[in-house]
Amino acid sequence: MSEARTAPEVVALPGVVAGRPARRARVIRALGRTPVALIGAATVAAVILVALAAPVLAPHDPVAQIAKPLLPPGREYLAGTDEFGRDELSRLIYGARVSLYVGVLAVLFALGVGGTTGVVAGFRGGWVDDTAMRAMDMLLSMPPLVLAIAITAVLGPSLTNVMLAIGIVYSPTFARVARGPTLAVVQRPYIEAARAIGAPGLVIVLRHVLPNVAAPILVQATVSLSTAILTEAALSFLGLGTQPPTASWGLMLSASRQYMLIDPWIAVLPGLAIAVSVLGFNLLGDGLRDVLDPQMPSQ
């Protein structure tokens, strides 16, 4: 019995022990050489930092009505004030929290549900594969934003529900991304060897399949973070996401529509914040794709 547990490790040993740290160092070095990825990583780091340090960075309370409404950017209020006389800069800073919070949790949800489905489908094959992937395809038969709107309409508009809706919508993408490499790995002799030794399916998946699926999933997660942030902004813009008075970029942009001709600043700045963070994740994802999988064309 103990043989069954130790043997797969022996099969995997050369790859794991010699490969992992060396590979990680290689990946980091390669990332450093790609300016695009570097800019992306720096932007993402900056957005995360702003979100984490929001209480320290923000000069004012983001929901306090403290000044005249619709002030242009000036010395006192660096980014001006919004239609209720709230400090625009503080709201932009706190908005990073909402975007990242919803984005990260939604992608984790999609990764958990979709990734697991994809790996199990690819590993088991047969009817499990057919049923699971067809179910995922059905979710893909609806335009993502329309499905997200339908889900938030049913669940009711709130931060948590937006997160859930985005998570559900992006699950099939992860299922597809995870299934491909799993199918390829399952054919390899070392999986057959592990099976022959009697290693349980779960062990094979965790030890031999997951490491092979990790790279494409990581790239997908980074790219999905950008679309998740965009979707949250879109839903909030439509009034189906974050609710006032919480500072959310999409909501701020939406509220600005009534005043944008008088005060263009409150329309320009939140959109810029969305664009910069989304661009950061896209650049990072693109760079990661180039480095992790040289065969995969970066479109």
Binding site: A150, V268, G271
Partner: protein, 315 residues
Amino acid sequence: MRYLARRALWTVVALLGVSVLIFLLVRLLPGNIVDILAGTEGQLSREQRAAVLREFGLDRSVPVQYLLWMRGMLRGDLGWSFRSGQPVAELLASRLPITIELAVLTVLAVTLIGIPLGVLASVSRSIRVKTLVQIVGLLGLSLPSFWIAVLLIIAASHLFGWLPALIFVSPWSDPWVNLQQMFLPVLSLALGLSVVVVRMTRSSMLEVLGQDFIKVARAKGLSARAVLLRHALRNALIPIVTVLGLQMGYLLGGVVITEQIFGLPGLGWTLLNGVYQRDYPVVQATVMLFAVTFVLINLAVDLLYTYLDPRIRYE
């Protein structure tokens, strides 16, 4: 043919699955539909409640309700709007052309902007052009279309004193005014998409240009233009069409927001108003219509492959 039959069958199955999903989603709604309806009319007596339930078929079991809904849909009967009492089918039929016009004009604009620029960018192999295309392409993916729309409105109003129209003019009554109304919405949707197409066109063209038959074409003395357009572009089109097809989901989603911003009373506008007013028959039917459109477009893209490349024979 066998492939086509399988593909068509799967399309039907997928749509059936989607219809069950949408149906169940609407049944999950918090609160009783009768209470939502009664919200506008005050308190209802027990008999009135029962009457309302019967009128909307809500006293039947859930599977029966689903079958009734499906039967109605196949007959073109999508139920009545909770709010206006208008038949939903009639409502959607009047809104659909606006969305189709918006989508078709956008795809047209994307093709006209994206493919020529992509071909131009493929002629140069310099690293600067490559980086530029990559960065601009990512920008196109990153700028929210609703922000572009807002910026365009601000710019147009400051420069030309233009304002979003209050009343939609159909192309049948006044095509010129209609095109003016469509210009900014189409532009806001097309800008982001066309840079994606530029990027795809360029990389696809570069791949084709590196192949032997291009060398042959050049060697036999064809003009650069003929090689580029007749030999290279035709072969490079497949990945470009794929990307355009993949972007349709984004486009159909973008249509919802764009219609809302510019006040175009199309399907997206109808969907959102249905959601805001909790008009579930309208929401249910509109989401279904979006799904049908999306699935049919994907099918069309698949069929287009065989036309573009006769070498592709599905079995």
